[in-house]
C-alpha cells in the first residue's frame, strides 16, 4: 500500500456525530486531522490527557505514539479516572514510543508510517470492532538528526488522504518551544485542516489540499 491507496475491502461502521476533545466546548468531527500547537509539557498534557480520557471513557480505540519514552507520564495521570491497565490489556489503549512506531529501521519513511497508521486503524475498526478511533502523535521525533525527518510536512499532507476515510480523529502535537522554525510552522499550517490553538479548535484557512500542496512542492 502507498499513501494514495487504501486497503478498504469492506464497509466500515462509521460514527458520524461530533466527538468531544475533552476541552470545554471543543468538539471534532470524524476525519479531522488536527494540529495542536502548545508551549512545553504542561500545556501538552492539558490538550493530550483530556483527549485520551474522553476516548477511553467513550469506548474508542486509542492509538498514542509519544516521543517521551517515559509512558508513565501519560499513564499515571490517566489512571485516576480510567482503568489504564485494563485498557492496555484489552488493546483499547495502544501507547507506543516513537522509536518503535516511526523508526523501526532507524530512519523515517512517510509511506511506511502511513501504512502503520492505516493497519492500526483498519484493524481497530474491522477486526476489533471499535466504532471510533483516536490517534495521537507527539511530533518532536521530527527534530532528531535521523534520515527522512525532513519529509515531516509531506507526511502530514499525505495523511489527509487517509484520515477522512475512517471514523477517526488524528491529533498531531507540536511544541512551539521545540519547533522554532517559522517556515516549518507555515508548512504545518498548510497541511492540517484544523488547528487547536489556545484551547480553540479552528478551521484552518491556510490548509491546502494534499494534491495541490504536494504538486507545489514538486
Amino acid at each position: 500500500m502507498d499513501g494514495n491507496g487504501a486497503v478498504t475491502t469492506g464497509p466500515i461502521a462509521t460514527y458520524a456525530g461530533p466527538i468531544s476533545m475533552g476541552l470545554p466546548g471543543v468538539t471534532a468531527a470524524p476525519g479531522d486531522h488536527v494540529c495542536a500547537f502548545y508551549r512545553g509539557p504542561v500545556q501538552r498534557d492539558e490538550v493530550l490527557l483530556p483527549f485520551l480520557r474522553e476516548g477511553l471513557l467513550a469506548g474508542d480505540k486509542v492509538i498514542c505514539v509519544m516521543d517521551d519514552p517515559d509512558t508513565e507520564r501519560v499513564r499515571g495521570p490517566l489512571a485516576a479516572e480510567v482503568d489504564v491497565e485494563l485498557s492496555s490489556r484489552t488493546g483499547q489503549l495502544n501507547l507506543l514510543c516513537s522509536d518503535r512506531a516511526y523508526f523501526p529501521g532507524g530512519y523515517f519513511a512517510a509511506d511506511a508510517m502511513i501504512d502503520f497508521w492505516e493497519r492500526g486503524v483498519d484493524d481497530a475498526v474491522r477486526r476489533e470492532g471499535y466504532g471510533f478511533v483516536r490517534a495521537v502523535g507527539e511530533m518532536t521525533w521530527a527534530l532528531r538528526d535521523l534520515p527522512g525527518v525532513e519529509h515531516l510536512v509531506s507526511y502530514e499532507s499525505l495523511l489527509n488522504r487517509f484520515i477522512p476515510r475512517y471514523p477517526l480523529v488524528s491529533l498531531c502535537l507540536y511544541d512551539l518551544e521545540r519547533f522554532t522554525d517559522g517556515q516549518v510552522l507555515m508548512g504545518l499550517l498548510r497541511t492540517h485542516p484544523k488547528v487547536l490553538l489556545s484551547g480553540q479548535l479552528l478551521e484552518n484557512p491556510w490548509f491546502t489540499e494534499p494534491d495541490e500542496y504536494l504538486a507545489d512542492l514538486g
Binding site: F37, Y38, R39, E150, V153, L176, E177, T180, D181, G182, Q183, V184, L185, M186, G187, L189, R190, V195, L197, S198, Q200, L202, E203, N204, P205, W206, T208, Y213, D216, L217
Partner: protein, 559 residues
C-alpha cells in the same frame, strides 16, 4: 523547507473573510510563539500568500539591517514607514511593526507592480500583528528573565541562609566545648563531628596533643624542626587555613604567638568551605583554651616567684603560709635554701633556671625556685644528694657528668644553706647558701655542691659577733704578708694558704698554684723572713692556717 508557491488570486478568491481568518490564525500562532525569529519567519513565509510581492526583510529596531540601501531608505521614511525607494524594485513599502510602545521595526516588501489596495491592507494588518506578537514575546521573555533572576536570587539567599545556619551550628557546638572545659580532646572531637574528617591538635613543635577520628597514626609522625618552622611561617602569613600535603592546617595564635596547631586529615582534598569554617572556629576556640592555660601557668609562676622572694627577704609567717596553701604547697616541711651558679653552652639567661628546675624535679629536690641575677635560688624541701643534683644541672646545661671533661665551658656550683624549720629562718639559710658559694670562689675550691653545715671553721668564723676580733687576729698573724702582697702585687698569703691546706706538701702546693717547685721554695723563704715565724712549728702552722681562713671569711663577709 521552502514555502510552496501558491496560486494567490485563487487564495484571495476565497474571499476577504477567509483571508482575514488566515491572518487571525497566523496572529494567534505568532502570539503563542516562543522566540522572535519564529515570529519573523512566520510573517516572512506568510507574505506571498497575502499579496503579490516579495519580502525584503523584517527590520527590527536595534537589530542589524541586512542591506545599507534598505537602512538608508528606512531612515528616510521614519518610524511610521511608507513608500521606499529600493534598488531593483518598482514598488517598495515599509509597514510599521506596531506595538503599544510604538513601532518595533518594519516589514519591508517590494514588487514589480504595486499590489492592490486590499493586498496592501492585508500586509499592513500582518505587520501590525507581527509587531504585537513581537511585543508580547519580549514581555514574556522579560517576565521569564525576571522570574529566573528571582529564582537565582532565592537560590543564593537559601545558600546564604544555609551557610549562616551552618556557621551558627558550628559556632554553637564549639562554644559549648569552650565553656564546658573539655580541653583539647573536646575541641578535636567537636571539629571531627562537624567535618567528618580526622582531626589532630599539635603543640608548636608538632607533638600530638589530641586526636579525634579513625586511623590515628602510631607513632605519630613529626616533621624535622626546620620544616616545621617553615610550615608555621607559611600558615602565619595566610588569613585562611593552608593545605600541607594531605592536611589542612590552622594555627592557634592569640596575639601572634603560636601556641598550637589544629589540622584536618584530608588526603582526598574533600574539605570545602563548611569544613574550613569549622576548622577556623576550632582554631579560635583552641587559641582561647591555650591562652587560658598559659595565663593560668604564668600567674601561678608569678605567685610562686613572689612567695620565694618574700621568704628569702623575710616575711610575715601567717601570710606566707596562706599563700603556700593556695598554691597547694606545704611550706611547713623542713627546707634548705640552695643558691646555684653556672653557665651552659649558650648565652641564654633562662637556660640555668630551666636546668635547675628540671634537675630539681628529677632528683627530686623541690619545686619552688626563682632566678636572682645570674644565680638561681631553690627552696629544697627534701634532703637530696646535692652533688647528684649538681651533676643533673650540668647535664641539663649540656655538659657531661664531670665539668672538666672536654666541656670546660659548662659549669655549675651550689651553695646549700642550713635547714630552716620555720618561715622566719629562710633568710638565714639563704645567706648561708650564698656565703658557702662565695667561699668556694674565694678559697679557690673546685666546683661542687657545698653545704654550709660542712664548712667547719668557716662556719664558726661567720658566726662570731664581733668581726673586729677576727680582724685583729688576722693582722697579728698574716698582717705583714698582706701588706707585702698589697705593696708588691705578690701572692704570699695565697701561697701560704695552699701550702698549709695541703699539709706542707711542696709537690701538691706547686701543682695547685701552677708554679715551679723552686718558686714555691723561694716564696716560703720570703714568708719566713717577713713573719719571722717557723713554719715547721705545728702551733704556728695552726694559727697561720686559721688566720688565712679567717681572712677568706672576712673577704666573703665584706663582699
Amino acid at each position: 523547507m521552502s514555502a510552496p508557491e501558491l496560486d494567490i488570486p485563487n487564495q484571495l478568491g476565497r474571499g476577504l473573510l477567509s483571508t482575514m481568518r488566515s491572518l487571525l490564525v497566523l496572529g494567534q500562532l505568532m502570539t503563542e510563539s516562543t522566540d522572535e525569529q519564529q515570529i519573523v519567519d512566520l510573517a516572512t513565509t506568510a507574505v506571498p500568500s497575502l499579496a503579490r510581492c516579495r519580502v525584503v526583510g523584517v527590520e527590527r529596531a536595534g537589530a542589524t539591517t541586512r542591506s545599507p540601501a534598505v537602512a538608508a531608505a528606512l531612515g528616510a521614511v521614519g518610524a511610521t514607514g511608507g513608500w521606499l525607494d529600493l534598488p531593483g524594485a518598482t514598488w517598495g513599502w515599509a509597514y510599521p511593526l506596531g506595538s503599544l510602545t510604538g513601532p518595533l521595526g518594519h516589514l519591508v516588501v517590494a514588487a514589480e507592480t504595486e499590489p492592490t489596495g486590499e493586498e496592501q491592507f492585508l500586509l499592513r494588518a500582518l505587520a501590525q500583528q507581527t509587531g504585537a506578537a513581537l511585543a508580547n514575546q519580549r514581555l514574556h521573555a522579560q517576565e521569564q528573565a525576571t522570574a529566573l533572576e528571582l529564582s537565582l536570587v532565592n537560590d543564593r539567599l537559601r545558600g546564604t541562609v544555609g551557610a549562616l545556619e551552618r556557621s551558627m551550628e558550628i559556632h554553637a557546638r564549639l562554644t559549648t566545648v569552650a565553656v564546658s572545659g573539655e580541653g583539647h580532646d573536646g575541641i578535636a572531637r567537636a571539629v571531627h563531628e562537624l567535618t567528618g574528617l580526622p582531626v589532630a591538635i599539635e603543640d608548636r613543635y608538632g607533638n600530638l596533643r589530641a586526636w579525634a577520628g579513625a586511623h590515628r597514626p602510631d607513632p605519630y609522625p613529626k616533621d624535622p624542626p626546620a620544616r616545621r618552622e617553615q610550615l608555621l611561617r607559611r600558615a602565619l602569613r595566610s588569613v585562611r587555613p593552608i593545605r600541607d600535603g594531605g592536611r589542612v592546617v590552622a594555627l592557634a595564635h592569640p596575639q601572634g604567638d603560636i601556641l598550637g596547631v589544629i589540622l584536618l586529615v584530608d588526603p582526598a582534598g574533600t574539605a570545602g568551605e563548611q569544613e574550613l569554617m569549622a576548622l577556623e572556629h576550632g582554631a579560635t576556640i583552641l587559641s582561647m583554651e591555650l591562652a587560658r592555660v598559659r595565663s593560668l601557668a604564668e600567674s601561678e609562676l608569678r605567685v610562686r616567684r613572689d612567695l620565694v622572694d618574700e621568704l628569702l627577704n623575710g616575711t610575715d609567717e601567717e601570710s606566707a603560709l596562706t599563700r603556700a596553701v593556695a598554691l597547694g604547697y606545704d611550706l611547713q616541711r623542713p627546707h634548705r635554701v640552695l643558691v646555684v651558679e653556672g653557665r651552659g653552652r649558650s648565652r641564654d639567661t633562662d637556660q640555668l633556671f630551666q636546668a635547675v628546675r628540671h634537675a630539681a624535679r628529677d632528683e627530686p629536690a623541690g619545686s619552688l625556685l626563682v632566678a636572682r641575677g645570674t644565680q638561681v635560688v631553690l627552696l629544697a624541701d627534701v634532703e637530696a644528694d646535692w652533688e647528684r643534683l649538681r651533676a643533673g644541672v650540668l647535664r641539663e646545661l649540656g655538659g657531661g657528668e664531670q665539668s672538666g671533661n672536654g666541656s670546660r665551658e659548662v659549669r655549675a656550683r651550689i651553695g646549700v644553706g642550713e635547714v630552716c624549720e620555720r618561715v622566719a629562718e629562710f633568710p638565714r639559710s639563704y645567706r648561708q647558701a650564698r656565703l658557702a658559694l662565695r667561699l668556694l670562689a674565694v678559697a679557690e675550691w673546685e666546683d661542687r655542691a657545698v653545704r654550709f653545715d660542712d664548712l667547719g671553721i668557716y662556719r664558726l668564723l661567720v658566726g662570731i659577733d664581733d668581726p673586729g676580733e677576727v680582724e685583729r687576729f688576722v693582722q697579728r698573724w698574716i698582717g705583714a704578708l698582706l701588706d707585702y702582697d698589697r705593696q708588691r702585687g705578690a701572692n704570699l698569703v695565697r701561697t701560704l694558704s695552699h701550702y698549709l691546706d695541703r699539709g706542707g706538701s711542696y709537690e701538691a702546693t706547686a701543682r695547685a698554684l701552677i708554679v715551679h717547685r723552686n718558686t714555691l721554695k723561694y716564696r716560703l723563704q720570703r714568708i719566713r723572713q717577713i713573719t719571722g715565724l717557723d713554719l715547721s712549728d705545728p702551733e704556728t702552722c695552726f694559727n697561720l692556717q686559721l688566720a688565712t681562713r679567717a681572712w677568706h671569711t672576712l673577704s666573703v663577709l665584706r663582699s
